[in-house]
Symmetry: C2
Subunit: 344 residues, 2 copies
């Protein structure tokens, strides 16, 4: 599977949308309360301003966000768009919840979509691991350019990638130190293999403990959902400079994202979904990128560097993430770099 | 993937042995202390009797059992057999641990194996989920028939499948009841889909709490590793009669296995690896089979029935497990049955 057979295959859409045709992922997302309740709270908090508005819910899945709109506000219409075969069930759920006057389901992909007209609000839950993985965001931007009215609102209106240098003793112990003397045997020979197999790709579903942060986290990349262009997604860069605020072992970087929902009303409060270690756990959890070799750091050390998210030019839902860093930058210390494919 | 393309494909050996060519599964198995330490304890407890014996370790993986033999006893020779590409690393591990005089690695499949001679002991960790899944046991029996001396010892010498009727409130809540009123919406329409998707196959990696057992467990099938034949594996049946010892909700059956290691010395103690809910957690955990509809049961109720493990005639590493049961057997109550593919 190194080369896609044609352009469609490069998006792996059969696999991608196939996964959303069964309940497993929908149950996982719906069971994620911080996620789902953020959308509910955003709609409830904007219910007055939503009156008479036209809303598009892109990638609506079971239609939960569309149903929130119809039940908690009085929009003129909600266009619930879902490309996977879940759409036929969504239609039935809309009826069962008495929302068929307001919510219309469109089983279509963003690129092929034809709607009755433009929309005032485009709401979507498109965020993946490390924010961008699977690049559903591209579909959201296509839909925006085609169907959002001039001055319309995007929900989320911005999204932000956050990084922190961290400890990960238990991961390092279980995957690398384990080989040192299991059951009295010497398996150190396998450590180079283990490094290649376990540390070369990020660990999804990591749960970072706040006490394993070696510094305050830094927002490294921000996407303005109104202005960002599809072409900007090819390569995103961000810099960081972390002040180590306690001595410890620098095992790697942990990454997560936050999404921000502007108010429809001027000066209304912005709402936030934060998937980091200081917020309630979401189904995204966090993503851990481990260094090949841990480094002891002291309070007061400075870790300066950058992160680069490079979209795979062939496999369009994949990317690689490269970290470059340098501790207490001096001329004689050279910059370290490590590139993590995710997944290709 | 409904029909294998040829007979080899029916064993899915590229996938099966491919998985054992990387470290992930080996790390999982080695990190399983109850498992690995049982083998260590068996060898240590038989170290005197192992002196001068020839041992075969089939599917040796990283060679941990072979190394235990060489380091904790004084066998004449250990033949460490591994079909996957891990074998080349195993050879190096044997050298690193100074056991190359005793342990010889053979990268070969059981069917094609040529050894210098017959063996006194055939040790293997062949057990899968529900004991039989993946049917590595067939390779063990082939190796036994070809290479075990008359009167030789099998480790494990017997293995047993155990069943208990149980509660599984949290699984039922998360997968079925969830749809009743999530976020104030009515998603009951999805329950039939959820039943089909989540309850039709067993749940591997279940952790049964002792207090969720509705009765004492029953051993339903026992394999005598010296006498059982490959053809016996096609269909294995066992009966049960459970006395419900506390009122509760009968959500399904939980299944696990134990493996028994006879002593090489007459009257020596048999050692046991038990993967059930009353023993330390292993990487196999337990396997949960959920009924379509939970049934309230009372103390004193009797659940009578049977379990049948039917090997898939096409996909040779797969099976289906059928439960038949009847509560407080009376003429007017008909027998319930449910068949679970695992996985095909
Ligand atoms: Ca998502
Ligand atoms: Ca096994």
């Amino acid at each position: 599977h190194q080369t896609p057979e044609d352009e469609e295959d490069a998006w792996q859409d059969d696999e991608y949308f196939g996964n959303y045709g069964t309940l497993r992922l929908h149950l996982e997302m719906l069971s994620d309360k911080p996620r789902t309740e953020t959308y509910r709270r955003v709609i409830l908090g904007n219910s007055a301003a939503l009156r008479g508005k036209v809303v598009m819910d892109l990638g609506c899945g079971t239609g939960v966000i569309s149903l929130f709109c119809a039940r908690l506000a009085q929009p003129a219409a909600v266009y619930a768009v879902e490309a996977s075969s879940m759409a036929k069930h969504t239609e039935e759920l809309v009826r069962q919840n008495g929302c068929e006057e307001v919510v219309t389901v469109f089983q279509d992909r963003a690129e092929n979509l034809t709607l009755p007209g433009k929309v005032d609000v485009l709401v979507s839950e498109w965020m993946g691991n490390c924010l961008l993985f699977e690049y559903m965001v591209e579909s959201v931007l296509l839909a925006r350019d085609r169907w959002l009215k001039e001055g319309g609102v995007m929900w989320p209106s911005s999204a932000c990638l956050t990084v922190v240098p961290c400890q990960a003793f238990s991961d390092y112990r279980q995957k690398m130190e384990f080989w040192e003397k299991p059951y009295g045997l010497d398996f150190t020979y396998l450590q180079s293999l283990a490094q290649k197999e376990f540390l070369s790709q990020p660990k999804f579903s990591h749960l970072l403990l706040p006490e394993d942060c070696l510094s305050a986290p830094a927002d490294v990349i921000t996407l303005d959902m109104v202005t960002i262009q599809v072409s900007d997604l090819e390569r995103l860069n961000g810099g960081f400079s972390f002040n180590v605020d306690k001595s410890g072992v620098f095992h790697g970087f942990t990454v997560w994202f936050s999404a921000h929902f502007q108010s429809l009303e001027e000066d209304g409060p912005t709402q936030e979904l934060n998937t980091g270690p200081f917020s309630e756990i979401t189904h995204w959890k966090q993503t851990l990128f481990m260094l090949d070799t841990p480094v002891t750091v002291e309070e007061g050390d400075i870790i300066v560097g950058s992160i680069c998210l490079q979209r795979n030019p062939v496999w369009r839902r994949h990317l690689s993430i490269t970290f470059s860093w340098n501790i207490n930058s001096t001329e004689d210390k050279k910059v370290q770099t490590k590139c993590f494919p995710m997944w290709r």
